[in-house]
Symmetry: C2
Subunit: 183 residues, 2 copies
Amino acid sequence: MTPLSVAFVGSDSGTWTIERMDAVAGEPLPPARGLTVLEGPAARRLPEEADWALRGVTSNERYVTREEHDALEALQQGLGRPQATCSALIPIRKSQAWWDLSQDERRHLFEERSRHVAIGLDFLPAIARRLHHGRDLGEPFDFLTWFEFAPADAGVFDELVGRLRRTEEWSYVEREVDIRLTR
Amino acid sequence: MTPLSVAFVGSDSGTWTIERMDAVAGEPLPPARGLTVLEGPAARRLPEEADWALRGVTSNERYVTREEHDALEALQQGLGRPQATCSALIPIRKSQAWWDLSQDERRHLFEERSRHVAIGLDFLPAIARRLHHGRDLGEPFDFLTWFEFAPADAGVFDELVGRLRRTEEWSYVEREVDIRLTR
């Protein structure tokens, strides 16, 4: 995949209505009522009325094996499904201790210890997902994960984030905001 | 390591004098006589007289195991050694086929097939090195590697790049420029 720049812009209005913003760990974000998702060159020209903007870039995979990739790809759905009128934006920052680990140590924590991929697979195809990386851009969050799902799957989504937050991997999360939206 | 933004700026003059610029694969860069290395916030304000500027960011490790990391760390030297008056900047872009591989496939090509770390270890402590990532920044090169060494080790450095270019990993390199400098 060619990296795609994306900006999530919080302001008074937007394509998505913000229903809730919870600071799960660390500092909250300033309040906003709506969210707009800008992609590609548009992500560089931010609207003046923005309350905040979080940027990230889709990138190559960092931990997933070929077998896991193929299992995910066989089940996962794209963004923009008509029935997926609920979404969540979960910005996360991991600790210095995480980033100081070597690649094999991070992989071991990610999957062999925490089952990140295996948990995600349990929620396909209901929950669509796109990951954006911000750390190398100098952004306050290392990852911005965007999820889309139907209203009937909102409880299922709560179960997904609950299971991930109980993993060993999550002990390295030092800042997390959970933003829930509808359109 | 916290990501550090770096810009390599080619112009009429600079801290480093450009001795040679060879297009090893793909498009060359426009000619320049000098190079300046800007770091941190300074990397965002480019001098007006620049002929070109290449940007990257130091980042977390992507392939190296803990054992390999410790072996490298025990031997490698930092930048700025007084006797290291020779340097090289080697910008590289890999093919879409490389980026479409999964993490385990890229790791296998990088080390088990191509011995990238093992080859590098053979040239420590003579050759100091810093890697910068540009792909997620939308830069024309995926990697900018900066090397520093003493004039007496210039032949040794040629051997290092020669060995790397003969690896299977290098069959995925679609653009490479080799810039040699002195100060």
